[in-house]
């Protein structure tokens, strides 16, 4: 029956349709329905707080480019760290990850090292595939999602990664604090040393010269000189009067010797205050230098102490830390793979490819020789 032979096949039996739609959909169905291993996703939410940063108002955020500079240094560091090889190494120190991802009951295609021989680089790629870190740009909350083939595994890995991030943030902020404090402390120590040295110098000087304070001593001496001068003036005026009115008075030689003694004494004392070497005025110069030194050192010490206290206060404020908003969850149902959705996606994409190929090939077919 030639008519039957020429009857076009129904389109769903055409080789093109089979190749583009039926076979891929069947494969996807077999994979998703029977082979693909359940994937449990543990999710944690946390925020890296660094109180040094002034909380931006929503208007301020908008003006600064709506979160362009939003995330803090520390939270960027956490993102970078969790997507690095060292995070994988740290978390896998006791083989937690390699055990979770290479277990024999995981389907060959899903398992690490199932098809390709395992090595560090592939494991890192595989790890990046299983760990998702998503910063929420507006709230600055970091979402960490870890996929694994067992609910406990995924939770434990997420917990481990979170702990490592906390360590990292602590290390970073501890370092920043220690640096700031160290400078302030060494400054203060230096100032203390200098103040002590100046005080010792001054004390030595005092014990060596036997002078507590040259200036006060000079004043005291000048006062005594003034008193002596008063005395001398009264003695001299008495002497003058006696000489004028009773030249033969027997007190005259006595008064004369008194005036002379006073004169000598005044002269001696005056030279002790100023002029000669070892006088109070020459000692005063040295004393003043020492005095100035010790005053300066004291002032410096006070300033250093103030800045040390500031640094301590700032360091307290600089403490960045990881705050858990939601600890890693324990998934009770494998949300991946999306089995029905996966099959549907393959089917729809296959249909699209089939449609395109059909039209294109029909176009080619319209070209005939002869």
């Amino acid at each position: 029956m030639p008519f039957r032979l020429n009857q076009p096949r129904p389109f769903f039996l055409a080789p093109l349709f089979l190749a583009a739609v039926v076979v891929p959909t069947m494969l996807a169905f077999v994979y998703f329905a029977f082979l693909a291993s359940d994937i449990y996703v543990s999710e944690a939410r946390f925020v890296v707080r660094s109180p040094a940063k002034v909380a931006a108002t929503s208007l301020g955020q908008m003006l600064s480019g709506s979160g362009l500079g939003g995330a803090s240094e520390e939270s960027n560091a956490v993102v970078e760290y969790l997507e690095s090889r060292s995070a994988l190494d740290d978390a896998n120190r006791d083989g937690l990850l390699s055990q979770a991802y290479t277990a024999g009951d995981i389907f060959l295609l899903d398992r690490f090292g199932g098809l390709l021989p395992p090595n560090q680089e592939r494991f890192f790629d595989y790890y990046l595939d299983k760990v998702e870190l998503e910063p929420d740009p507006t709230t600055q909350v970091l979402h960490l999602r870890v996929s694994a083939f067992g609910p406990q595994d995924s939770q434990r890995i997420a917990e481990r990664l979170l702990e490592r991030s906390e360590d990292l943030v602590n290390r970073l902020s501890g370092r920043a604090r220690a640096d700031a404090l160290q400078v302030a402390e060494s400054d203060a120590r230096e100032a203390q040393e200098r103040a002590r040295a100046a005080a010792v110098e001054l004390a030595n000087y005092r014990s060596r010269t036997g002078i507590i304070d040259p200036e006060k001593e000079a004043i005291a001496r000048l006062e005594s000189i003034a008193r002596l001068e008063d005395e001398m003036i009264s003695a001299r005026s008495q002497l003058d009067q006696l000489r004028q009115f009773t030249p033969q008075a027997p007190q005259i030689p006595y008064l004369q010797s008194q005036v002379e003694t006073l004169n000598r004494e005044i002269e001696r004392r005056r030279s002790g205050v100023a002029g000669r070497r070892g006088s109070l005025s020459s000692a005063g110069a040295r004393y003043q230098v020492l005095q100035l030194d010790s005053e300066l050192a004291a002032k410096q010490l006070a300033a250093a102490m103030v800045s040390l206290r500031d640094a301590q206060a700032e360091a307290r404020g600089k403490r960045a830390y990881v705050e858990r908003i939601a600890p890693p969850s324990l998934p009770d149902y494998p949300i991946r793979p999306r089995r029905i959705g996966g099959v549907l996606a393959v089917f729809v994409l296959g249909l699209l490819a089939w449609g395109i190929l059909t039209v294109l090939l029909a176009g080619v077919r319209e070209h005939r020789e002869g």
């Binding site: 709506s66 939003g70 740009p137 176009g363 077919r365 020789e369």
Partner: protein
């Protein structure tokens, strides 16, 4: 007696050969009618986009345009503007292509789709030679580094070409039915140009804007080309799970529209 009807899923022998010959002939004809044999002739095919790209690179260098990264501006302009030329010239050439080629349809073996495909291939060739040539030139004189991953550049480039071709054939076929397409495409292409990722890196945008920009399919291709070019110096944002289905749907639409037009077209 009725002529033997071959089952629709089999292709008569020689059809591929004829298809190839037709495309080759159309390509040659297109080059000759467009550029002629004067001056440097068909070399204009890629010298023209080269001049465009050079001009833009020079302008951007002079203006030290802000592009949100510390990449060399020449490399940035080269990857960005070449990609724009690729997807923008294809629709530009295909819109209205049928009207000027109606007489060709008297030939039994020249089909409507062939005209579009020939023009798309021509534009693809021109833009590709221009991009590759300029890259080689700049690499040779040392003003940019060679691409980190050539295969990735090629992949991104092909993806942009796919988007461009699908848009071109779709709009080309539509334009045969309505003149509005021609009028609307020009403003649309100018609007998409700044949004297509040619002048910025998606990573430099605020996170809120990234999401919306990535709805434009060309952005993904440009990002892939850039990632291939610059490697880890930039963070590329693209999603093949969005672009590929997008292209598939658009291609199917384009081919179906073309078939519809082919059935209704009247050769002059």
């Amino acid at each position: 007696m009725a002529p033997p009807v071959s089952p629709p899923s089999s292709i008569p022998p020689g059809s591929w050969r004829v298809q190839g010959r037709v495309l080759k002939a159309l390509l040659l004809r297109e080059m000759l009618t467009r550029y002629g044999r004067h001056n440097i002739g068909f070399l204009w095919l890629f010298v023209e986009p080269m001049l465009f790209t050079l001009g833009v690179a020079a302008l951007w260098t002079a203006a030290e345009a802000y592009h949100g990264s510390d990449l060399p501006i020449v490399a940035f302009a080269l990857t960005g503007y070449s990609s724009v030329l690729l997807w923008r010239n294809m629709p530009g050439r295909c819109i209205g292509a049928l009207w000027s080629n109606l007489s060709l349809l008297y030939h039994r073996n020249i089909r409507v789709l062939d005209i579009y495909v020939a023009r798309v291939l021509l534009e693809f060739g021109g833009a590709t030679i221009s991009f590759a040539g300029l890259s080689l030139l700049f690499i040779a004189i040392g003003s940019i580094d060679p691409p980190r991953n050539i295969l990735e550049v090629v992949g991104g480039w092909l993806l942009i070409a796919w988007i461009g071709a699908a848009v071109a054939i779709f709009l080309g076929a539509l334009s045969h039915e309505s003149e509005l397409v021609d009028k609307l495409w020009h403003p649309a292409s100018y609007l998409i140009f700044p949004l297509s990722g040619a002048a910025f890196l998606v990573d430099a945008l605020p996170p809120v804007a990234r999401e919306y920009v990535l709805y434009i399919p060309m952005v993904h291709g440009t990002e892939i080309v850039r990632e291939g070019f610059f490697g880890t110096r930039i963070t590329a944002h693209y999603d093949l799970g969005y672009v590929v289905p997008f292209c598939l749907v658009l291609t199917l639409l384009a081919l179906m529209t073309t078939r519809r037009v082919a059935r209704r077209v009247v050769p002059e």
